[in-house]
Symmetry: C2
Amino acid sequence: MTPRQPVDSGSTPIWARPEPPARRTPHPLSRELIVGAALELADADGLEGVSIRRVAAALEVGPMRLYGYVDTKDELLDLMADAVYAEIVPPAAHLSPDWRAGLRLIAGLTRRAALRHEWFPELLGGRPHLGPHALTALEARLSVLSTVPNLTGRPAALRRAAAAFHAYLVGALRTELAERQADRVEGRSEEQWRDAMSPYLRQVLDEGRHPHLAELVVEGEHPTPGAEFEAGLEIVLDGIAAQVS
Amino acid sequence: MTPRQPVDSGSTPIWARPEPPARRTPHPLSRELIVGAALELADADGLEGVSIRRVAAALEVGPMRLYGYVDTKDELLDLMADAVYAEIVPPAAHLSPDWRAGLRLIAGLTRRAALRHEWFPELLGGRPHLGPHALTALEARLSVLSTVPNLTGRPAALRRAAAAFHAYLVGALRTELAERQADRVEGRSEEQWRDAMSPYLRQVLDEGRHPHLAELVVEGEHPTPGAEFEAGLEIVLDGIAAQVS
DNA sequence: GTATCGCTCGATACACTGTATCGACAGAGT
DNA sequence: ACTCTGTCGATACAGTGTATCGAGCGATAC
């Protein structure tokens, strides 16, 4: 009797599943509303602050209500990630013919989005992101990269460059944001790093078995995370430029 | 893990905390035993299969018993990650004077470890890894990179190169393993990718708004993940080599 | 040899989590 | 006016991490 939800809904991604029709209830819902509430929670308390129950509570609705719009919590996270990707799509008008500038723009947009939504890098590189905005962002990366002299008309090389570029973004942002959060938890401020260095680390370095690491920690200027990110980006850009054959 | 409040800031990290003395009980315990059991669970069922209760059960011990050896589940995950780092430290004897070969070796070891422990990339780039083996692996990376002509004696440039190299590893492995797991869940085999491409993706591409992406999907040969990883690595190595000034 | 102390163990409890189930209810169709 | 059908959400289940605290035991003191 109960109309079974088509069991293959597990194989149909949420992006291909229509949202239930709007209904006039004391608290109307939509995927957009749900994702909006989830984003707010995540921005405030991190990903751990997002639970089906809390999102529902923020919308003044029973928890089970959400499952009409989303099959699973992971799908909600997918929607949240895609919402961030929407902030990353570069305005086409500003794409200069200079591919390095184009990639710098994309990388900068991605990093800014990650700083606005510190939980985003935790999702980056997790389950594949195939939402509409993620695909548009991917297309933008490919579009810029396809103008690199050595890559035009060489799809395989293009794919490799795009993968490497994206891998750098994922790894760099994930690492930076995780460190930022760890520092915040331990109450370290950016400038006091060496003074506040944990006694443990100092002890390990004093043992003298990590000479290169010790030199790095001792050595004077610690650049800002932003500068570090951009410096690494230049390395990747140089590597892409160097791809010949 | 739910009550995230008492983060206990400033307390000594687990690496600096001695383990409680061994005790003769029906089921003697040690961090090594605990981590071993946790690794087995994670290798079998993924990170989601690791819970304090399950680890304890595998050791035929009450759950709370573990909290004498570990303050928090996150600390257990730290220990697990460090155990994997132990597999990554390159045998010093095999480090050739060729820095590119050295970095290829390290990258290969890291990838092999990630394939052995598919959950490892999920931890990579999460909370900072400061365990003894992680530090040794970091020192190895720095040691190899310090032999790059342009980097010797330039700590700041060395740091940037090391960060970029590691960011690539984190991003590439995380992405590759996540895709591998998603494919496994959906029962896709590697060769049938295009045929089994989800109708959703095909439909999006057919709309024609992602020409570059469409070309990549259509274009013939999909290289193995390993080849893709190595190709991206070459890009990063080229970028490091190109760092002058 | 006995008494005491201190410490470890783990059962129980608490506050959560994601989600399956299913009775009750409301809106549409006849 | 009366079905019928589909949505809603209270309740329930099986799990999670971990705080608490009484019981019991090993080592020490007398």
